[in-house]
């Protein structure tokens, strides 16, 4: 197990190297001049040239890459042009909103999706099942940004219960932090909840037809015990797969959701940095997101092993 984790961690190296090369050249080949953005619309040509020089943008691309990559290898992602601060700090400042948003969304999707899927499977063909299926279909189909806008209209503009946009640090005021993130988390998590409900329902239905469930019932076990002790553990593997994939979708979806709710997270930073042509931030953020993605996948794989004795035994033999 330990060796496997180390091996998987080592795969991070080539992944990040490829990502680094691709993102660097993509960003630099795309038109747009960070110096012009910084200097403003009325700046003289001379001023823009001076800034380009100061920022090192007039050096050959290969030289710029070598200088950036050699620093990145040592863990230094460089300095943001626009924000006038180290990229690592810019990312660190924005990790909390994105991390909490993703976490809340994940929790919400599990709280809603898991019970809904189980109930729908157990009460198959009942009105609850149909309602869950239709709602889940709707949930999957509704884009998160649209749901976000609708929620802002309802809870912020009409009812004025929740703030329309913004953020407060968790450490400053946890309740206020929740007030700011509850709508983004709902709009982001609902789609995943719907997906989860559908997968849990179908997996549960498969499991409920298995021989061991019939045997358990034949032994005279209570239905609750049959479900919780015998059926549910077998639903965990496909559920984990969905949750693992959700993490990727949630991180991606956070880009859009953060824009809708003006949450100062990594997603918004990436979008703004593209518009500002803040090359070091785009490069650093994409690298960081790639690393997080790989690590999350690794965690999911570890969770598989922990959850499924068959895989655990297999890996031992």
């Amino acid at each position: 197990m330990g060796t496997q984790i180390v091996r998987r961690l080592l795969t991070l190296v080539p992944v990040l190297a490829v990502v680094a090369v691709v993102v660097f050249f993509l960003v630099h080949v795309a038109p747009g001049d960070p110096a012009a953005v910084m200097a403003g619309n009325e700046a003289s040509v001379e001023r823009v040239e001076q800034l380009r020089h100061d920022m090192g943008l007039d050096r050959p691309l290969a030289e710029q890459f070598v200088s950036w990559a050699s620093r990145a290898v040592r863990g230094d992602l460089g300095d943001s042009y626009f924000l006038n601060q180290p990229v690592a700090q810019a990312l660190a400042d924005r990790m909390e909103p994105t991390g909490l948003l993703t976490l809340y969304a994940l929790i919400l999707s599990i709280i809603i999706g898991l019970p809904a899927g189980i109930v729908a499977a157990v009460r198959r063909n009942s009105w609850i099942d149909r309602l869950t299926t239709v709602t889940a279909l709707g949930g999957v189909a509704i884009p998160s940004f649209w749901l976000g806008i609708l929620m802002i209209l309802c809870f912020a503009v009409w009812l004025r219960w929740l703030p329309a946009a913004g953020y407060t640090n968790f450490a400053d005021d946890p309740l206020e932090n929740l007030r700011y993130l509850i709508m983004p988390a709902f709009s982001l998590g609902l789609q995943q909840a719907a997906l989860l409900a559908r997968v849990v329902r179908s997996s549960m239905l498969d499991v409920l037809w298995e021989d061991y469930v019939r045997t358990a019932r034949a032994k005279g076990l209570r239905e609750q015990v049959v479900l919780v002790r015998h059926a549910l553990p077998n639903v965990i593997i496909p559920t984990l797969t969905v949750i693992g994939n959700s993490m990727g979708s949630l991180l991606g979806g956070a880009v859009v959701t953060e824009a809708v709710f003006n949450t100062p997270g990594v997603g918004r930073l990436v979008v703004q940095s593209v518009l500002r042509r803040d090359f070091p931030v785009i490069q650093g953020a994409v690298l960081a997101i790639a690393a997080v993605y790989v690590l999350v996948n690794l965690l999911v794989d570890i969770a598989y092993v922990l959850a499924d004795p068959r895989i655990r035994e297999g890996s031992r033999s």
Partner: protein, 565 residues
């Protein structure tokens, strides 16, 4: 194994319990927060149906009822935090360092310059007490105001002004041009500066009072530490508000400077008396327009800028918001590339001018005449520079004449690359209409819709385009307009116009300068047609009904504005 399972079962139950409690708590948390007061019912905003009349000069409505907080000295209400939703994060807090509008809009609350504008857009002293000009125009003596304190408590003197201007001259194009004309600068005493000029320079005070990348006066030690290479990150000025902190992409916070001293007893445009009524102003970057609108409606923001004019009809009768229309302050422009092989053909440019219907383009972009007006004047009607010279060539809408001019030109079906952007929707909408009108007379055009950063980068390369769209904000003097800058993309330069430019810069009296400008404008419309000027336009802003007296021309000013309770 059984024990293991039990543990798992219990933890799962616990998990569900905790989750249920957490979700319940979150709903409770959401509901238990005291809701902001219901929208204040107010009369439909008067500014929604007519232009905001020189907001800074209008007398603020007095706070009348006894329940209301005591009115401050000149009628506004002191106190509160203003939450201003601005279009994006500033690239710098240093107004000398960048010409970005978003930086200027924030920074002129905490810095000031030697000069500024009055309500008639004439240069007036700000940190200066007076300006004396010798009869030959070669000696400019600036007396500084005494007892003006920087936010660090130090008194502003000539050495601070000197250091600030030296750095500004290294960074700013306008500063470089000015100091190219300055022979020597001396300070006979700590409140006097004498500029010996090589030649008369008509825009001396206008340039020193210009805001974008302007000559902000900061303490000597601050600018000397930053040098021209680095930004000032902790700006210190003399303005009515004091910079406190910036959380990148979250907000920039300024607070009232209690020791602020106004120059004058009554407000006049950006100059005169400045009342800092707010305890604090937070400039919050909100790049998405829909969020800015929703934030005003929900009571999260008090001010929102950059609202598309097509939202006006939806919002003008909404009681939760006040719509504000700026006075005409912007000019939509479509520059021709006078260096390109195709567009350097004067007849072709004249043909396009004859073909286009500026009103159709303006209407497509700015919706109604509430927001646009036709005008042949290169300078705004509100400034002392209005002239109708060459007006017969503006708004011709004559496709037949255009086709004739096209025949006389050397144009031979080449593709005209026309760059525009959706980032500023009005630019795109104008371009679509103009593009159609050009195609209608037989031009082959390629409308290239790209993002703004790409456009800005490409427009400096003459081989990459033929036309690009933009707009210019308020500029108080024709000599400072971009079309009078020979290095600005478009590159309008020839013997005739360059001679007029020189004359405009060295003529000191207003009447003489207006005459020169008229000649230049005549040349602009009748012969050179270096770009298309469509008209003048207004901007749309939203505020909470509680926010009063926001100044919008020539730019957003929160001094003298206040929040009613």
């Amino acid at each position: 194994m059984a024990a293991d399972r039990r543990t798992r079962r219990i933890s799962r139950r616990d998990f569900i319990r905790v989750a249920a409690l957490a979700s319940g708590a979150s709903v409770l948390a959401a509901c238990s927060q005291s809701a902001p007061p219901a929208p204040v019912p107010t009369a439909p905003p008067s500014s929604g149906t007519k232009p905001a009349a020189a907001p800074t000069t209008a007398a603020p409505a007095p706070a009348a009822t006894s329940a209301a907080p005591a009115p401050a000295a000149s009628g506004g209400v002191k106190g509160g935090t203003l939450r201003a939703a601005i279009i994006g994060e500033p690239p710098s807090l240093d107004p000398q360092w960048t010409t970005a509008t978003v930086t200027a809009n924030i920074s002129w609350h905490y810095v000031e310059a030697l000069f500024t504008l009055d309500a008639d857009f004439k240069a007036i002293p700000m940190l200066a007490e007076s300006l004396e000009t010798s009869s030959d125009g070669l000696t400019r003596t600036v007396k500084l105001r005494k007892g003006v304190l920087f936010h660090n408590g130090k008194e502003m003197t000539a050495e601070d002004v000197d250091a600030s201007l030296k750095r500004w001259a290294q960074i700013s194009g306008l500063g470089k041009n000015l100091f190219a004309k300055v022979d020597t600068v001396s300070s006979p005493d700590k409140y006097t500066m004498v500029f010996k000029m090589k030649s008369p320079y008509a825009i001396f005070d206008a340039v020193l009072g210009y805001r974008s990348g302007g000559a902000a006066i900061m303490p000597k030690e601050v600018v000397e530490q930053a040098t021209e290479k680095n930004q000032v990150t902790n700006p210190i000025g003399t303005g009515p508000y004091r910079f406190v902190e910036q959380l990148k992409d979250r907000y920039t916070r300024v607070v009232r400077w209690e020791k602020y001293q106004s120059n004058g007893d009554t407000p006049s445009g950006p100059g005169g008396k400045k009342n800092a009524y707010f305890d604090e102003i937070r400039f919050i970057p909100v790049p998405d327009q829909n969020v800015r609108i929703a934030g005003i409606q929900s009571g999260d923001y008090d001010y929102a800028e950059g609202i598309n004019t097509d939202q006006y009809s939806l919002l003008k009768d909404n009681k939760q918001v006040t719509t504000l229309l700026s006075p005409p302050s912007k000019t939509p422009l479509h520059y021709f590339n006078n260096k390109s092989a195709i567009m350097s053909d004067q007849k072709l440019r004249q043909a396009i001018l004859a073909a286009i219907d500026p009103e159709a383009a303006l209407k497509a972009a700015w919706a109604t005449t509430d927001f646009y007006r036709l005008s042949p004047s290169l300078m705004l009607k509100e400034t002392p520079w209005y002239t109708e010279a060459g007006k017969e060539f503006y708004n011709q809408k004559n496709p037949d004449k255009a086709r004739q001019l096209l025949k006389e030109s050397k144009y031979n079906g080449e593709t005209i690359r026309y760059m525009t952007t959706r980032e500023y929707p009005t630019m795109y909408q104008e371009s679509v209409v103009l593009n159609q009108q050009m195609q209608a007379i037989g031009l082959k055009t390629d409308l290239q819709v790209i993002d703004w950063a790409t456009l800005v980068s490409r427009r400096s390369k003459p081989e990459e385009w033929e036309i690009f769209s933009t707009w210019h904000g308020f500029v108080q003097d024709p000599s400072m307009m971009d079309w009078n800058n020979t290095t600005y993309p478009g590159w309008w330069t020839n013997e005739k116009v360059d001679a007029l430019r020189d004359k405009l810069l060295t003529t000191l009296d207003q009447k003489g300068r207006l005459d020169v400008l008229s000649q230049e404008q005549q040349l602009f419309w009748s012969e050179d047609v270096p770009l298309l000027k469509l008209g003048d336009v207004r901007d749309l802003y939203l505020t909470s009904p509680k926010l009063k007296d926001v100044g919008l021309l020539p730019y957003t000013m929160f001094w003298n504005a206040y929040l009613t309770k």
